[in-house]
Symmetry: C2
Subunit: 530 residues, 2 copies
Amino acid sequence: MITGKNYIGNQLSAQGNQAGKTYKTFNPQLNIENPLIYTEATKEEIDEAVNLATKAFKVYRNVSGKKKAEFLNSIADEILALDSQLIDIYCSETGLPQGRAMGERGRTVGQLRAFAELLNEGSWVEASIDTAQPDRKPMPKSDIRKMLVPLGPVVVFGASNFPLAYSTAGGDTAAALAAGCPVLVKSHPMHAGTGELVASAIIKAAEKTGMPNGVFSNLNSSGIEVGTQLVSHPGVKAVGFTGSIRAGRALYNLAAKREEPIPVFAEMGSINPVIILPHALKNRGEALAKTYAGSITLGTGQFCTNPGLLLGIKGDALSSFIQNLSDEIVKIEPSCMLHPNIINAYEANKQKALSQADLTVVADFDNQVKSNYARQTITTVEGATFLKNTSLHHEVFGPYSMVVQCENKEQLEQIISKLEGQLTGTLIAEKEEVSDYVQVIEALQDRVGRIIYNGVPTGVEVCPSMVHGGPYPASTDSRFTAVGIHSIKRWVRPFSYQDWPDSLLPDELKNENPLQISRLINNKTSTDSI
Amino acid sequence: MITGKNYIGNQLSAQGNQAGKTYKTFNPQLNIENPLIYTEATKEEIDEAVNLATKAFKVYRNVSGKKKAEFLNSIADEILALDSQLIDIYCSETGLPQGRAMGERGRTVGQLRAFAELLNEGSWVEASIDTAQPDRKPMPKSDIRKMLVPLGPVVVFGASNFPLAYSTAGGDTAAALAAGCPVLVKSHPMHAGTGELVASAIIKAAEKTGMPNGVFSNLNSSGIEVGTQLVSHPGVKAVGFTGSIRAGRALYNLAAKREEPIPVFAEMGSINPVIILPHALKNRGEALAKTYAGSITLGTGQFCTNPGLLLGIKGDALSSFIQNLSDEIVKIEPSCMLHPNIINAYEANKQKALSQADLTVVADFDNQVKSNYARQTITTVEGATFLKNTSLHHEVFGPYSMVVQCENKEQLEQIISKLEGQLTGTLIAEKEEVSDYVQVIEALQDRVGRIIYNGVPTGVEVCPSMVHGGPYPASTDSRFTAVGIHSIKRWVRPFSYQDWPDSLLPDELKNENPLQISRLINNKTSTDSI
């Protein structure tokens, strides 16, 4: 049952009721508000949640990997047990179809179980042991042992476009809980109900597996105050965020100004450039147009990896491709965006782009559409115009893409090297032409976190080799990924023990290697005991 | 030969001569200026150096690990070839003895060779491969491969207290060059000659091993302008710093305000708390006093890990220890500090501490000392006073330490948990009493990067298990270490290739594994080919 309250640790709480700080979510398909009322967290509730998290950290940091794995698996089980209740509220708060809800749930559960597996195996702590050399000259060498330890309470901001996989129990939360960090979720106002249900699953799992009260809290919010208070709170030690550049940068700035600055990993906007080389354009232009019409409109263009920028070299093949893409994209039925605010921003950003001189609209779905349904749009622009006009380099969040017609290879390289940081870059090419474009490809690599060959950027596989992140503003710190097991590294720090007695060391660093993990021993990897 | 000029890439340059931006270094032993004149880098020279670094990066990022290893080993060789010329200028600019100069040179050369070994072995790139599953339902799985790649040009600020090991070719530079990042050193004004000599060794090595011009530059500076311009420059992608909290935080703030924020790893101040438990105090108080008198005065107290804070529980044993420590420390001959500015700051900070009510001076070397020689000082204070007065929590850089007399275990724990972040924490204990102090020890772990048992914090072993860093303000990002091969992680980011043709992949990710490195293949570690 959804109560509209906050979880302050294990307790439901709604102190904000008296002050009237309440709000509702919105069903974009029906174009009406949903009936349930949510109460924003108060300053006192936030303080209490952080204090509980700080206390919980003292216990939770010492919980074994196996026990934490049980907790994560139990969260996955409890999310599945919510069954149609979760799917229904998800759909009512997002306008997304059931299939998408179930797919995203599968991804969320899969992430939790992948982290559980990582913890059960145990080697992720990067244990490293340098044994003593008491007879070394001129100075004896101490015994030094290192492993990764958790940072402390982490605040997670859920994403509007992934109410499950990048929100309450999404990748940031799963990684932080796996690391040994308590989590405080700033619930996304657009899917407060989905958020509360998932939070209830986490709380249930925490209670069932004996985790300390405060290991998780869920804080409702409709404005910026709750997030601001959380990021400024001295008890908070790191922040995970998925969303717009404006909001992500504001949180980054806030964290950098603290007396004790803390790391903020914000995964933000991206236009995900796609370079289509001439031979590929000539040989497969028609098929590519169809594929890209699908990729641009997938999920109503609401993916971080949506291809918002296609680049080719001017000529008949590119002209035909633009025509084919235009023809294909208007065949696709428009679909619903997440919220009236999102579609309004889409229309406004699109109009802003269209108001630029020398931008040509080549496809615009012009039939009547339902409220909150987005018209897909393709524009085209000359390379020189794009180079001059950096406002065209920014994301239009939605089913929109712009084709840049470059004069030549040199202009293409120049454009790529001038782009802001991106989550992804894609190269569409025939094998024999790649060697002619080495500099273009290297320029692309320098600007992105992931590079794709003859594919589409949409679809972020959850696997150890995935990088979801990239140079700013794709993320605030390109040294980490938001997806995959290695995303745990955002929430941990290395810690050394010098000459520490074996019996007092954590199991990961004990001589006998009771956890049988892989360790670096005197700079050689092994699972041996010492 | 020392010219007093900057290295803008491979070229010596001194445009600032005309504007009269020159300065000299100082010999604190002789208390006179050294004769050589150094010319500060101009804005144009800085721009040119960054532009060269940006161009060099395009080449250097693709240089193989083996070739980069040759470069690093060659730097080590060229530093050794400088022989007595380097040792002499080092001593004349620091007042430190020859033995220290040679020890630090050994450490510097050892670091360079350790990174060369890391590169020759090659597995440090954390290669990870998830192979394709074209038949997977409902969606085929792409082939995704990941490895660490360099960030781009890195600015390194040398430390006043380690002209070799933490400066021009020190740990930050060695790690950045190993990572594949060009380096721009902001030379430390106090040891500009040592800096230029080491820079000449790097340039010679770069030329001998065929590295691109711009892979290294050395920029003279006497004020804050050169550093400010470097950190603000859009071409700079990361910053390494060792020094004071004030300067490190200023650079961090500057980098965070950039249009594209960049990571700053600043290793800053620390008072390195040492907890001495009652049984140890009783059994070994005398020996401990002797050991700690040595550790406090080592290198005239100018180590980042100098023990500035000793904590014990009030009683006869602690009183005796304070007496013994006082007796021992005045037996030690005072020694020279690095520079008049440093000794002036030492005296001023000490006076500021001494002016606090309820602080008792228990030892103060009161014989006449030479100019720039530091008088070692021990003070003591009640636990309650220390708790109330947070100005006592700050570092007094030099041979100074304060003994805090706690009322009981609870007060000790409270004090530890209120401390700022520290590089190190030390526990002096008999084995049987440790279990009574679990909470104290956990509080200490939460505040530090390295914890030491029955030892001294001075002496930072260069080995893979070392953490030299810690919670703010010990460093600006506790997720990294400044010492040891893993310090390379500060300058790299993960990068994914999706469905990339094998022939176009870097060797680290090719099917046949030509480098024979250890890789994560479908989440299992192996050196196998695919």
